[in-house]
């Protein structure tokens, strides 16, 4: 299968999974428990399903190797985000979370994952 249709399927699937988990999160309380679903593996599940179907297990295993580092970076940046969102509000706080993730994940990739 050529890359473009696969990317389109990933986009559609990713969007649908995110909406499904977001709707689930909306019904849960208290807010801290609902917050778990802001970091649910929605994009991961949606993409891994497409990768396994179109490229097989080997590509999906490679994806999960990278995801371990990405998830660790997400956990650290989200902890820092608790302080940033409180101090700078949501928009700037989330931007700082994303910048921190890029920095940590980049270091992790160059430090151990890059071929």
């Amino acid at each position: 299968m050529s890359p473009l249709p696969v990317l389109l399927i990933k986009m559609l699937n990713g969007g649908l999974f995110v909406v499904a988990f977001a709707l689930l999160g909306e019904t849960l309380r208290p807010k801290r428990f609902a917050g778990l679903f802001s970091a649910a593996p929605s994009v991961a599940l949606a993409n891994l399903i497409v990768v396994i179907t179109t490229q097989g297990h080997r590509a999906a295993i490679a994806n999960t190797r990278g995801m371990v580092v990405g998830a660790a970076a997400f956990a650290v940046s989200a902890v820092m985000g608790i302080v940033w969102v409180r101090r700078y509000r949501s928009t700037l706080g989330s931007a700082l979370v994303a910048a921190t993730w890029l920095t940590i994940a980049g270091i992790g990739y160059l430090g151990g994952l890059a071929p």
Binding site: L7, R32, S38, A44, G66, M67, I82, V85
Partner: protein
């Protein structure tokens, strides 16, 4: 350090399906757009760089900005902070999700691998949440009852060691004007009459 402080009346875990009626279509469209965009980005990085680099983006905090800005707009910044606290626990649980998924995919079929990986995330995140929430509730309860936190005397303890002075929470103000536990003040309390 916490956003919205937990209250003892709130259940540790609850659901209110009726809130689905309050969900606005444009909010879900925004989340769909974020999910589609990060999926496109992860796929593109997998093609251009390699699948390992693309896989990192499966854990990019792409949904968080949309969620936080919507919560802040609707319910305020404190609620958004509380959501990030939950997201931090969920994000930590993504590590075992990826590790278990990657391990099982070597030996097991995809449906079982992904199902077990998701259950790993769910269990790890709920256990982490219960640990944090229980700790926060106990800490709050101790403060309400005037029991000192571990590692320090309460501000209200009388220097003579005769016991704690019953001070209402509103009056628990440190010398610098902030509320909360502190070391005993430089000036001792006046002796009890």
């Amino acid at each position: 350090m916490t956003g919205h402080p937990p209250t003892a009346e709130e259940p540790l875990i609850g659901a209110d399906p009726g809130k689905l009626g309050d969900v606005k279509a444009h909010e879900m469209l925004l989340r769909f757009a974020f999910g589609a965009a990060i999926s496109l980005g992860a796929g593109a990085v997998s093609i251009v760089v390699n699948p390992v680099a693309g896989g990192m983006f499966l854990a990019f905090p792409a949904i968080l900005p949309a969620t936080l800005t919507l919560i802040e707009k609707r319910e305020g910044t404190a609620e958004a902070v509380t959501d990030v606290e939950g997201a931090a626990i969920g994000a930590a649980a993504l590590v075992p999700f990826a590790a278990v998924g990657g391990y099982l995919l070597r030996t097991t079929g995809a449906p079982l691998s992904l199902t077990l990986a998701f259950l790993t995330w769910l269990v790890a995140s709920i256990v982490g949440y219960l640990a944090v929430e229980t700790f926060l509730r106990r800490t709050k309860e101790r403060r309400m009852r005037g029991i000192p936190p571990a590692g320090g005397l309460p501000f209200e303890r009388h220097p003579s060691g005769t016991g704690e002075v019953d001070v209402p929470e509103i009056a628990r103000v440190r010398p610098d004007g902030r509320k909360g536990w502190s070391q005993p003040p430089a000036t001792p309390h006046p002796p009890a009459l």
